[in-house]
Every structure is written in C-alpha cells, then in structure tokens.
Subunit: 351 residues, 4 copies
C-alpha cells in the first residue's frame, strides 16, 4: 500500500507504478478526493519497499497484513477517509442501498415459456432481479446439468430467453458461470455474473469474472470460513472490479444423523461481514435450507440480521421443477415474504 503525497503529480504516480510493477505485482491505483493510494496486488515478498518509500511523491508505505485489503472497510476508511458501504447500480436497481433487493427465479431454466411465466410472476410479487440457472453445477455427472450442457446452441438460446425476460419485465438478469469457457458468452447476455459456492476457491475463474467488468454475485463455499470467503473475493477485486455482491448460502452441517436442513445458514456472518467489508451481503435461504417450508422464516431472519437482499428460487409449480423441487416456493409465497421482510427492515433500520 503506497500512499502518495497530496500534491503528487501524475508523473510521480506513474513512476511508482512502473517501478513496483517490475517486481511481479500489479498496481491498483485508487484516487480519493484527498490522497492517491497505490495498492499492490500479488506476491509482495520481493518488492523493495524501502526503495519505493523514497521515490518522489511518495508519502508513506504501509504493510497491510489482511488477505483482503482491497475490499476491507478498514482500508477504505483509513486511506480514503470515508466509511461508506458500496452501492452497486444495475439498470436502475441499487444493491447495497437503503432497501434490500429481492432476486428470484427458477433454479434451472427449462423452457422459454417456463421462464417468461416465472419472470412475470416474480416481478408482480416484488422481485427486483431475475435469476435462472443455465449451467448447473451438480454433484453427479448423471444429474441434469442445465440446458447449457446440451450444446452451444442450447446455451445461447437459453441465455437469450433470460435477456428477453429481463427486458420484457424490466429486471436485470443473472446466471451462474460454472467454468471459464462459459464466461464470455454469459457476460454477453446477463447483467450480473454469479460464481457459485462450489467454485469459491477457483481463482482463475474469479479473475475471469472480475475482468468481464460485470457485477459478480459471489457465493460462500460451504466449507469456507468467512476469512477464506473474503480472501477469495479479493481475486475479483484485484482485477479492478469492486462490484461484488457477497452471498451467504449455508455451510456444512455438524454432527451425526439428521440436521433437517440441507446446509447450516450462517446468519451471524451477515453482520460480521458487513463490519469487515463495504460490499453488500445477501442471503440465499433456498439452497441453505433446501426446504420450502423454512424459506419464509429464514428470509425474515436474514433481513432482521441485516442482509441487503435475498436470492430465492421460485417456480409456479414447485413440484414440477426439474432441479431442487423441494426448495422452490410459489410467486404468491414470494409476495408474502417480501411484504414481511419490508416491514422487518423498517423496524430494524428504525424506520
């Protein structure tokens, strides 16, 4: 972290960047109102900080130990002089703003008709963003992998339906990119790229997602601590992309025998993460519980815990859903949940 003097010139900044870059690190130049800070991204072991410290225009060199300095609230506060949370704007929807955002849609896109109907119904129910899976990560190669698995044409077609549904019902759209080879195609069609829980450690995929310039909905792995989750997010931020929406979706259950939920939703991670980073944090109660009958309780709890939004799987006829049928709710249940959540949000924010 190199802090430049107030009156450092552009040339001085460029000089420092050029010098630091010789040692295999990239430079994240962040121009605040008062100071310009050059964050180093990568292996800093061989950077000769003593030499950098005496270069013209340099005010100070500070070592930041945290593995997620670019997204940390502390870094932002200390060096940029403000304690603000990030608001990500996508086609008129604000994520991380005052009101929680509701992301809804089918687990997997099954057909144009299915998607259009769900899109219309979730929009009416109060959802802001439309989700729909095309490339599905599955534990078994013998399960349905999404329409995207059926060929390049099918993938493109499903993506075009998603784009169309978003335009038709005026919602930004998102889908998951499971592998690097799908990234460019997906980025062409959607407003937000999702990186799923299974891929949280995929630094190459994360870097790729960051470079699309699209906001990234980033899910915590079920075996990862909060620290590992934030450290992984830093791979997106390191590409200069700070439009990261963090999503808690449950961790591995403990103990022997039945846990009665698919994963253990870690709601305390929501306020904990909000203290660590300025990024918005949302919750996915559908994958966390895997149980339709618990979605309302956990949605209410998530908003009460301070979540900036929810991602919920919705189907007009949950039992017919090709994937994860037992966790989808109906559009009218969604409307009821959003209504309850709005009231809770008002209370917890003193409104």
């Amino acid at each position: 972290m190199i802090i430049m003097k107030k009156d450092a010139t552009q040339a001085e900044i460029a000089n420092v960047v050029s010098e630091a870059s010789k040692y295999g690190v990239r430079c994240d130049v962040s121009r605040g109102e008062v100071l310009t800070i050059i964050g180093l991204v990568g292996d800093e072991r061989r950077v000769p900080f003593a030499r950098l410290e005496v270069m013209p225009g340099v005010k100070e060199v500070r070592m930041i130990e945290t593995p997620y300095k670019l997204i940390s609230r502390e870094y932002n506060e200390v060096f940029r002089g403000k304690d603000e949370s990030r608001v990500i704007k996508v086609k008129g929807v604000e994520i991380g703003g005052i009101e929680p955002v509701y992301i809804a849609g089918p687990c997997a896109i099954e057909s144009r008709a299915q998607l259009m109907r769900i899109a219309e119904e979730v929009k009416c129910a109060g959802a802001h963003i439309l989700r729909g899976g095309i490339f599905k990560p599955r534990s078994s190669v013998h399960s349905f992998q999404g329409l995207g698995a059926q060929g390049a044409d099918e993938a493109r077609e499903a993506l075009s339906w998603l784009k169309e549904a978003g335009e038709c019902f005026e919602m930004p759209v998102l889908t998951e990119a499971r592998g690097e080879s799908q990234m460019d195609l997906i980025a062409e069609y959607v407003d937000i790229v999702q990186i799923g829980a299974r891929n949280m450690y995929e630094q190459d995929l994360l870097g790729y997602a960051g470079r699309t310039g699209k906001p990234v909905l980033f899910k915590r792995n079920f075996g990862a601590s909060v620290e590992e989750f934030l450290s992984s997010s830093e791979y997106v931020a390191a590409e200069g992309n700070r439009d990261i929406i963090l999503c808690e979706r449950g961790v591995l259950p403990v103990g022997k025998g039945k846990s009665f939920t698919r994963y253990t939703l870690d709601l305390a991670a929501v306020p904990a993460i909000k203290k660590e980073t300025y990024l918005p944090v949302i919750v996915d109660p559908s994958h966390a519980t895997g149980r339709r009958d618990l979605i309302k309780a956990m949605s209410a709890a998530a908003i009460a815990a301070g979540a900036g939004g929810l991602a919920i799987e919705v189907h007009y006829s949950p039992a017919e859903s090709w994937v994860d049928a037992q966790q989808a709710i109906t559009p009218s249940e969604l409307a009821d949940i959003i209504d309850t959540c709005r009231k809770i949000h008002k209370i917890t924010t003193g409104g």
Copy 2:
C-alpha cells in the same frame, strides 16, 4: 408404544405396565382425553410385543423408530389427537406461549451486589427470567470456574443470592448444573435447571435433571446435529419430565482462518425443531457469537426465525465482567433489543 382401547380399565393398564416392565423397560403412561398410551422407555429389543398386543385392553402396538418419540410432535398428534405446542409455566411466566420470553443476567455471579444490581436493571429492561452462572464449565482447569467452585458454602451462598434476587424482582431464576453432585443443591434454590452445551451427551446428568421435576433449559452441543439434540432431550422426557426448553447456541464454525464469531448460530434449526417437537425453542446469541456488537442483529434474527425466547448475558459494566466480557451487553442495550424483538414478533405472527 402401546395404545390402549378407549374403555380400557385401570387394572388393564396396570397389567400391561407390569408385564412390559419385566423386560427392562420403563413405562411412560400418557392419559389423553380419548386414549391412554403407554410409551416404552429403554431397550425394546427384548420386549415380546406380540404377547403384549393380545393382552386385555390393548388396542394396538406400534413401533416408533424415532429416537425421540416422547417429545415428537408427530407422536403427540397421532396418538393424542392434538397438534399443540407445550407451554411451560414458571411463577407466572409462560415459556412457549404467545410472547417470546427474555432470559437475562450475568454470565457468572460475582457478588450479591453485582447480581442484585443486574437483576434490577434487566427487570426494568423487560426481562422475564433471571440467569446467573455459579458452576461454570470451562475449557481450562486454570480459568475461573464460578463461585460454586470455591466450596460448598460459597455455592450455597451464591444460590441464595440468586433466589433472593428472583424473589425481590419477581422473576423465576435459573442456573447451570454442570455435574450430578450439584443437582440437588441447585434444584433447592432455582426455578429452572440449565444443562449446558458441553453436557448435552451426559445421559446420567440429564436423567438426574429430569427427576428434579424442575423445568430444564437444555442447550445443544456445538458438535451435535439436531437429531442428536432431540435424542438427548428424550433422556429428560423419559423421566416423565416434559418441561424442556430447547436452546440453540451455535455450532462449530467451518473452514480455516477467522470465522469472526465464536460459534455458528444455526437459526434454521429453530423452525426445523419446532416442526419436530412440541417443546419451546429459544436462542442464546451471547455464546453463539461471543460478540457484543452482533447481539442485537442476531436477537432480531432469532425472533424473526420464530424463536420462543432469548437468553442474553447482561452486565452493567461489560468490561468488568469476570467471564466472557466481550459478549455481555448493558441493560439499556437489552431494553432496546427487547423493544425491537417485540415489534418483529408482532409482524411475523401477523399481529
């Protein structure tokens, strides 16, 4: 599970109990409005069910596979014809009733003055039940184990303060029994006996607690699934004591590195347990998070998830607290939390 005929006589019931008891099981006789059911407690492998089935007055014999049949909602519904939740009444306070209950007090009782002051302040803040630790379970033998560890006289004195504070401020009181040898003494002074998370697997201790006849506040072990938690509760119920208050207080965090909370609060367990059993479920956000700054968010979330109450550690001067200082909140913070929780409860119950 032996279901007696509608018109079975007392003698017939007694006969069945006597016969079944020969095979090393105890009988839990439950007289409903319509039917009398004899639940067998213990190892059923050697019970000759075929012989019992043809005894006079017996309508039916049903095998129940679940390890927690006595406390299961299903057992209650199927055999007793009602789907009711249990309301435990202690000195005018209803646990499991319409309104959530708030249990508050110091982690450890340090002196009479400390306890009386906290009791008064948590009462004013809206708490219903007073808690205070006298026998503290600690990971290290070299830590403060509570006043109870300093001798029999000190233990009795601290218990008498607790009783006095409860009477003075009109609150039922509770403290933890860590070992069998403390149980009788504790039961003499308190209204509710607590079994802590570390002792969840202690079947002898659980049986002992059940036999005191006092309501038991029973905490989930941090390494236990919900099924194991309920199976352990059955040890209390097997003593004929169904006044069990289940308490979620967090499970072991996953992953490497920092989790930012002491344990992972499993809030989805609250509605999940409520579907399985008719017993009240409360939440302890203090031990779960170990962080004062997260208590409010997690209290609100717990009530939104449907918790029937909260157990919170309070100290007028948290920093001076001898144990767990970093997780205690002040009485005025408690008042604010109870106020918010009441509003949320009203919303989630459609009030």
Copy 3:
C-alpha cells in the same frame, strides 16, 4: 508455576503452598531431583505473584499460558530437566513403555459366560488388558444401555465378572464410567477407569475419575480439537493423577453424503500429541471406523503412526453382539492384527 530454590526447606515450600492456597488455587507440588516446582491449579487471576516471588525459598515465578501445563512435555522438560515419556504400570502391564499394549474385549458385557470366553480368547490372541462395557453411553434412551442400567445388583454382578475374568486370565481390566454416581463402584472393581468420548468435556466427572487414583483411559470427543482434548485431560492431572492414557477414536466426518466410516480417525493426532505431552497415546479403530473390514488396516496404520497401543472390540461371534455388531472382530482376527502390528512396530522403531 513457582520454582523453589535448590536448597529450599520443607517449611519454605509449605509456606508458599499455604500462601498461594489463600487465593482459591490448589498447589501441585512436584519434587524433581534438582528442583521443587509448585504448579498452581485453578483460576490464577487473583494470585499476587509479586508477593509470592519474594517469599523465602522461591527462586522464580513463571507464567505458563498453556491450558494443559501439568501434562505438557515442555513443562516437564523445562522445570524438571528431563524429556521422558510416562510409563503407567498396571499389574505388570506397561502402558507407554517400549511395546504397544493391546486392549480387547466385548463392546458390552452380556453374560458371565460371554465375558469369560472372550477374555480367554483375547488373552490367547495376545491382548494385555481386558475391556468390557457395563454402563454404555447411547444416543437414544431407547437403546440397550448395558447391564449396569438394569439396576445396582446387575451392575455389581457384571463388575464382579469383569474382575474375575481379569484375575482368571491375568489381565488388568477396564470399563467406562459414564456418570459420577458410578465412579466409586467402578473403581472398586477395575484397574483402569475409562472416560468416554461423549464425556470429554465433563469436568466434574474428570475430577472424580482423577481422585480415584486409578489410571484413566481418556477418549477424545469427536468434536474436539487436540488442544481441547489436552485441556480436558488437565482436569484429571489437576487432581494429582498423571496416570492418563489418551485415546484417539475418531472425529466427525466432513461433507455431505456417505463417508463410509463412522468417524474420521485422526491418526496424525498421535504423533502430534506425543510432541505435546509425555502421556501415552492409544487408538481405538473399532469406534473410529465402525467397520470390521477396516480394523486391520487402521490398526497397522495406528502403530505405524506411533500409537502406544490399541483398544479393539472383540466378540467370538460378532453378528450376535448386542451392541455395535458391525465393528467387532473375532479373536483370531485379533491375533493376526497383533502379529502384524508387532512387526510394524519393530520397523518403525528401528528394531
């Protein structure tokens, strides 16, 4: 930790003990060949170390941060000047000595005949110590809890069989004490008291076990880190009883779906614990795997990892075993395992 001068008198030592005891700690006086060390057991926060340091005969006061200083190798080395491992001698059997010890017997004692037959057969197979469960900890109150659960007379009878079998076949015997109320009775009959995995956190039970003066076979809880395991052992040592045999028996499996073993046997804990403490460490492959067909592989691996012995469940007819039938092996399988383990031990110790 108070280190007395080389020429400190008995009176000086007694004075220090007396003074320290005023502050609610107990003193563990350890007379080495060169120095006498007074270890403080309990809450040290209020001990005025500055005052103790200037008392006659005191050489030095050192704060030890570890929660298991009494059993730590480092404490022993630094203050007592030797790096020795503890050898526990029970009726001619050395635990922690050069050769690994083999503990074998039925999961649960079912009858005198069953026990005598198994005792004879495991002795022939090469076992050194006889085990047999009388008080069985079980997840469900509706499972067989051991003969001890059937009444005081049955418990005493089963214990007398165990003692008889031990005398008859010249093996020390051990059984598990599950609750405080069984401890005195058990200690009357057996040579080694076992504290099971479910009870690892039971500090009152541990203290009680320590006070019997019998060697304690102490099992790691399935949700406990090695540090927690050692910290709990300190509760036994704090009673002045250092005859503690540590036993690794598996921790909770990770992930979703089948793990194919009952628990995850943490064999790296064996050499890791041996670096931390001077106590012997053994392994229980039966409960860890829950699979008869894996016992040999894991026994061999445990000895290769440096275990000082094995505890294995044996039944002449595993399928008839009342408890844990799927994990018991036959006496002839035991003989084969002991033979293989002896050869491996010879190799790994360079013999």
Copy 4:
C-alpha cells in the same frame, strides 16, 4: 446401464447408442470379454428405458443408483466379471500395481537449477515420479502464485524445465492445472495432470482434464465426503478417461483451538475407497499435516493403511522454500521414509 446380449452385433450396439444419445446422454461403451455394456453418462431422467430394453441385441437394462458407477468396483465386477484394480502405466512406472509409488519434488518450481537439483536428489532417494508446482492455488491473491502466474513465457519455460528434469532423471512428471485455460499447455509438457483439492468440485475443469487423455492425479477437497470425492471423479471417467489416481490429503479439522496439524488426514478413507473403486489411492502427508516432523510417521501410517503411493514435498533446503517451507523434507529424509515404507508394505501384504 444397458447390457447387450452376448452375440449383439456392432450394428445393434450402434443403434442403441444412437437412440440413447437422442435424449441428451452420452454413451460409455465398454466391451468386456463376454459382454458389452453401454453406460449412460448424464441426466437419465428423460431416457425411455422401456423402449431401449426391447431394442434388438439388448439383454437387460439396469438402473445404477450410485453417482459414481463408471469407477465403481461393483459395476466392474457385476458387469465385466472381474474384480481387478486398475494399474496405470506411465513411462514404465506402474501406479496401482504391486509396489507403492513415491511422488516427490518441490512445492513450487523456483528456478531450473532448483528443480534439477531436487529432481536428481529425489531420484536417488527412490522416488518414481517428479512433481513441481507452476500454477499454485493460494488463499490470498497477495501470495506467490507460482512462476506460471508471471506470464505465458514464464509458464512455458517452467514447464519445459519440468519436462527436461523428467527426461534427464527418467521420471514421469506432473504438475497442477488450476484453471481451464492452462490445461492444454500443461498437457503438452507433463505425463500426469494434477487437479488440486480446491478444484475438486470444478466439473468443467475435470471434464477438460479427462479429455486430455493424460492420467489425472485427483485430490479430495478438504470439505468433501468420500462419496462426493468419488462422484467428482466420475466427471473425469465420463470423458472415457479411467486413468485416475485418487489422492487423500486431509480434511478440515474439528473443534476450537489448535489442532496441531494443518488438516486432518483421513487415512481410513484409503481402505474404504479401495473397496468402492478399482482406482489407485495415494496419500499426500505434506499438505495434510503441514509439518515436516510428522511426515515420516504419517507416510508409514499411510502405507500401512494400504495406500498405493505417497506424494511428498521435498527441498534440499526446506527453510529456503518459497511456499510451504514448514512442510518440506530433505532428500535424505525421503530416502529414509521410502526405506521404512517398503518394509511396512512387505509386512502388510504378507510379503
């Protein structure tokens, strides 16, 4: 799973393949000595099995529920009539054969000189295969990511050193592919492609690795059950590549506080996996323990448990190692380990 009649013609087989393929599944045709079996890969929900069953040449259609049927021992036995383990031959080295294989080399390749020196020394110590990291997965973007992260030229150069070292010292070589974009490049230079623990759930990457046709060294994720590990392996096998070397490298530790090892090595998984699949299973004690002083004990234990080989990090000067310095051992320590392991292997296999 479609089992063809003994005398089914090529045309009949092709017909069945063609028909099945219409429903979005791929066909894995496996011609045994007696029967030809067509395994379906992918989502089987929409395949009309009733129709396939009556096609000419079809003997029987069987549903296999396991998510890893292609690699399961049972599938192989039942349908192909043999219970054999797979032996993977790479440049004269047999993996899964009678003798365990030893894979050794630096954690990260640092320079040509470093690699050549280590290659020579591990060869002398008895290693069969040379490993060396070029693309390093790291928790923090601010850590050294391997020479491969410094640019395409650097990556190619490091790969060429690896190939050179392998040729020079007559060892097959392997390195990890962390992302899809590196796969083709890596496959051009190495004999075995490694997929690391963090990438175990990456189905796109696994498929890509499978399609290279190179043997794949596949590591278990630290949060995955054995069943999930095998289900993921099926993604490689589904590409027609059954040259998969499974590697256990430790799972997440349980409990609070210190575990004293980096991960918990699950050695019981070794024999458990060998019962489930015909693939070879090896162990990586370096990443599992993270401790140089435990490598020997855990290597010996792994071989005693039945591991088909070991992957060990070696550096001539461990303290100078750029990555994971605390877990590397010296070449002479490796020689000692291999010597001990050979003796243990001889004993456990009755040699």
